[in-house]
Symmetry: C2
Subunit: 233 residues, 2 copies
DNA sequence: ATATATAAAAATGTCGACATTATTAGCTTG
DNA sequence: CAAGCTAATAATGTCGACATTTTTATATAT
């Protein structure tokens, strides 16, 4: 039997694409634990589709390294490790520094304006971090994206997005335990302001070093947190 | 009906993964033209599998941006454009420079040894480029990989591989027309020697600039070649 | 003749069914 | 009682079938 005549989604996408999004979120925010086996029966139940769209979705996440597959043994959530976490964060820091270096070379007024706008939205939400961490993370990310976008390279931005997603998986596994320590948060905010200053002044070397530090500090925090020790099992 | 009882492949992989490899090659070397519609009937015929493994394979190449999909309108080979070509090559140059910079920081004797070994295999094949361009490209790539691997970052190497594949698609579209001009080739060889020298001397800034030039020259050649003008239609 | 509407043909996306393979449970034996 | 074998149970991977949608071909009207 096919889908009901009254379609719930007006989407232009097929089921697989829809499932990709939901499944990705479920993996990133930890609904499906690292290493967990993804049984077809359960997935069918949860997303209300057959195996074909599911396998297509899983195939996509396979390339994005969020799931792994073994022949005749099905799919599993990509396992986590301290080693991989450090590698992803380190790479992410270098890529972001690269974006910023290129962006500063090409930067114009419009780029500056975009950064100021995003920074404003982020600052305005500063006090509500503990109220709605999700929304804050969105604005935080939008701020950094407004900077990186100045590199003017779709290819590089694609790489950047992929790394962000992998990293956010580790961040979420940790966030669920250690909720927003305000000391860490305040330090973060100051780093943002220094970064903006360096960008507007086109201080490339300085900005790149600032962003490296900014992106590496979470990985240092994660390394010693409860979250990751739990991941060692 | 299922596959014949006598399996042709002793592979540990499922059909989808096998098809991924073959289909990827067919796209990269231009058997399927940019923008070409990938009709299921034809793919079934060519790879001797049903639609399920095919859709899985296509879903993977979708993320790798080698194919595109439109709902109810099937899959197409990802189109090419001069713009994208330049962006991919530019990004690739930056990533390779990044790998080399990190590798020089961490480089030890083993790294040097690996480079020398790969360089030797490449030099030995120097005269046979026109005889077997495929094999030369393999050794050329192995040489560059032996350098980049020193960055010691699986994540970064993954990014690098993906970019190499996308770039090689453009290179192949061009290679089929302009076959190995020896002047270009000789210049290439000299660049390799300069690069090796800089690496062994740990001259980071110099090496990074050399690799950027080395990787950007093909894109400059492609830009004005017949190959790409044909791609503009 | 061009444009519009209609019918026919082709192609896509999804499901259920089934063969194959892995996993578990129960049983035997040293 | 542990270790190995066997039977059962469960899960995967692939195909053919079918409903839905797009594309092509044909007919009609302005």
């Amino acid at each position: 039997m096919n889908r009901s005549p009254v379609e719930v989604d007006n989407n232009r996408n097929n089921s697989a694409l829809i499932v990709v999004g939901e499944l990705k979120q479920d993996i990133l925010n930890g609904y499906f634990q690292p290493g967990e086996k993804l049984k077809m029966a359960r997935l069918k139940e949860r997303y209300q589709v057959g195996v074909s769209p599911l396998r297509e979705a899983l195939s996509q996440l396979l390339i994005e390294q969020l799931v792994v597959v073994e022949n005749q043994r099905g799919f599993k959530v990509h396992p986590v490790s301290r080693e991989e976490m450090l590698d992803i964060y380190a790479t992410r820091a270098e890529i972001e520094a690269l974006c910023i270096g290129l962006a500063i070379e090409k930067g114009d007024d419009e780029w500056d304006a975009g950064i100021m706008a995003a920074a404003h939205k982020m600052r305005k939400f500063g006090g509500l971090v503990e109220k709605d961490p999700q929304e804050w993370e969105r604005r935080h990310q939008a701020f950094h994206t407004s900077i990186a976008i100045g590199c003017d390279s779709p290819t590089l931005m694609q790489v950047r997005r992929s790394l962000y997603e992998k990293a956010s998986r580790y961040r979420n596994l940790w966030l669920n335990k250690n909720m927003a320590e305000s000391t860490v948060f305040d330090a973060n905010q100051k780093e943002h302001e220094s970064l903006i200053e360096a960008l507007l002044e086109r201080e490339s070397i300085n900005a790149r070093e600032l962003i490296r530090e900014h992106l590496l500090s979470p990985s240092r925090a994660l390394e010693t947190s409860q979250g990751l020790t739990a991941l060692d099992r």
